[in-house]
Symmetry: C2
Subunit: 420 residues, 2 copies
């Protein structure tokens, strides 16, 4: 037994009195069931029950956010109140276990019919989690060391088309990008171990080009190979990358699950690039699922070194405020460590740097541009250069068009991507 | 290369023309990016592009279901159209890989700003998935063999209180239930390997009672021990259960991820009881996430032998129609096998049998009652008997109150649980 507690903050919406609704959550996720049972003694409740720490009412609405919510008996004109509810769970109910923590703080309670909305907003975890899950093995500093990039963002791209590129073209694209001085490439999340070109073959072709370019330029491009797969396959893929001299592995966090990421964390000798595809399903309904603030803590515990956040002005359905918050979440310390590098992507180009720097005031990001580099009219080398110039302008506080006057690669980028 | 395809059906909502929106989905999840790149040739698109198979318009709405959807330029009074869209993906893009399938059919597309709603409704998977993922190892038949229960539902309960019960009381509760002729007990999903009473200790205490009762009654109760944990811990927990003579292991599917379940499937020597907590977060917003029809196929591929579906008239926010559909989904054949036993729970009692049997006309269910057995006024033994009587009445088509006239345990159940 310990006195540690886990604090979980929820945004709820309910037609029931807020105090009652909060008690239902606390009961369902600890000692209660739908009817009192003999064993649920006062002592047991005191030792193992979740507690309502605070309730902060936010507003009232006439329509429910989610269907299938039940009304209190006799309520004709329902009012759905929203509130931030903080619950405290006894740590000894589950111990330092990510999956069992999830079953507790994010389990059946999403289905409780007393709620027309329920979203996990934040988590505060006690120290023992840090012992069981040491977190990112390399973090920001380790990633910079592998990539050889300091004092500026790591500029990267994604191989496009996402899927289907023959290996010969793959190789020449990587060669071109590596020679152009790019820092980082990631596989697309759609490209894991496809049947038409195996993972082994892709690693062999890509690493040969990277090593050859490094011999010439003295700089070894970091390539995040998408090792997403079943448990044993991920280890096999990791070992293939390591043996080939690769410096990063990528995993689709939600496709494999947090325990699979934590398992990878145990044996990885390379930074883990965490892709969050499917995240939209967890977060796009504002009154359901999970906030990124809670999610990124879980991902950091599991041990990713990089974590996708979307970029500002992306093609995805997320406001710039939300993206900036996500980036700042990743850059906020947690449990005395756990540095994780935010990864900005989607419809990014040289002009995204200024917006990004203004919003987060940090250079500790991986900034990915797909089309923004590969579709640059001057070719990929100029695309890379334009990205670097975009950040130079941002950091120096020089207006983009002004900086572009003496930087033709940036000028072309503005003409191509800035007019949309 | 193969000609196999994966078919995915989506419910979408969008202010864009439906054909255009469907093409955006297909492009984003195969060969496209936000701007044309040189390598996306016509030949590559033909071989690796996802195709729009069909679009079935469902209706038009004036308000969006999800926020952050972008409007087409010049659209003042937006109309949000809903449709069922069927896409076909080339199987060779990802191969027979559950996690990479997920990244493709349920990945970034949830975040596309062209949509105010997007939900995966169904999946049709080609034969090679059946080779890589052989599915439930024991299924309905194997479970019945282990439990020694044929020609009627497997009646079970959950140890309540969910968490905190001292091991001594745990033991006497299991003893009482085993002696009462109960078929099945599952751990609560909140109780994995808590600090106050370790998994090993719980298994030891529980199995001692089960074996002792089996010696007396000739019937060995099936107990689903919650082995949910990190990857290696799950294997360790499975081995503990097996060594102690246990006959079932339980896992919280969404807490560990499908690859962890598939990993467990490789080595398990016991039926896997699949708990779906957190499912509400994936499904409660009607225009987001995933339908159970798609979800249960993924879970069956991963290899669970039992799968939670909620019960009818449960305390959860789900209509009876939806629950009945879920149960029928589980009982529908898939890829020539993959029998999975639906698990009905939440606020169940003897009277739930009639409603359930009427809706699904099958006895191949595990029917769990927590309070409905443990809080029976005649004690747990009468609670168990009342559940069996409820099913006897249902199968024989006898009205519950009539059957209760000569079955006092059922009568007491009606008086206690039927008046709510």
């Amino acid at each position: 037994m310990t006195d540690h507690r886990v604090l979980a903050t929820y945004l709820i919406e309910t037609p029931y009195p807020l105090e009652r609704a909060a008690q239902v959550m606390a009961g369902e996720q600890s000692t209660g069931t739908f009817i009192s049972v003999p064993g649920e003694t006062r002592e047991l409740k005191a030792r193992h029950g979740a507690e309502v720490v605070s309730i902060q009412e936010l507003g009232a609405y006439s329509a429910p956010s989610l269907p299938e919510c039940y009304l209190p008996p006799g309520m004709d004109k329902p009012v759905y109140r929203r509130a931030l509810v903080k619950l405290s769970f006894p740590f000894h109910n589950f111990g330092p276990s990510l999956p069992n923590l999830l079953s507790t703080v994010a389990g059946n309670l999403y289905e409780l019919r007393e709620f027309s909305g329920l979203r996990l907003m934040d988590l505060d975890l006690p120290e023992p989690f840090a012992i069981r899950y040491p977190g990112p093995k390399f973090g920001i500093e380790g990633t910079r060391r592998f990539a050889g990039v300091y004092d500026r963002p790591i500029i990267g791209t994604i191989v496009k088309p996402s899927i289907g590129l023959p290996l010969s073209e793959y190789g020449s694209m990587v060669r071109e990008l590596a020679e152009a001085g790019l820092d980082f490439i990631k596989d697309d999340e759609l490209c894991g171990n496809p049947l038409y070109a195996s993972f082994e073959q892709r690693v062999e072709v890509v690493m040969a080009e990277i090593e050859r370019a490094a011999d010439r330029t003295g700089k070894k491009l970091m390539y995040a190979f998408n090792i997403t797969g079943d448990i044993d396959e991920m280890r096999r893929n990791h070992d293939i990358v390591l043996a080939a001299g690769g410096t990063c592995v990528m995993v689709s966090i939600n496709s494999v699950g947090l325990p699979a990421v934590a398992h990878l964390r145990q044996y990885t000798e390379l930074p883990v690039h965490g892709h969050r595809n499917q995240w939209g399903a967890m977060t796009r309904c504002p009154l359901l699922g999970m906030s990124f603030t809670a999610y990124q803590k879980l991902c950091r515990l599991a041990g990713v070194d990089h974590l996708h956040t979307n970029g500002l002005d992306s093609k995805f359905a997320e406001s710039n405020e939300s993206v900036a918050q996500s980036i700042n979440d990743c850059l906020s310390p947690m449990l005395g460590g756990y540095t994780v590098m935010p990864v900005l992507s989607s419809a990014q180009w040289a002009g995204s740097a200024a917006t990004t720097y203004e919003a987060v005031r940090s250079l500790d990001v991986i900034h990915l541009a797909g089309g923004g580099i590969l579709a640059h009219p001057g070719g990929t080398a100029e695309g890379v250069r334009s990205m670097q110039q975009g950040w130079e302008a941002a950091v120096q506080g020089i207006e983009l068009n002004t900086y572009a006057e003496e930087h033709p690669e940036l000028q072309k980028a503005i003409e191509t991507f800035g007019r949309k």
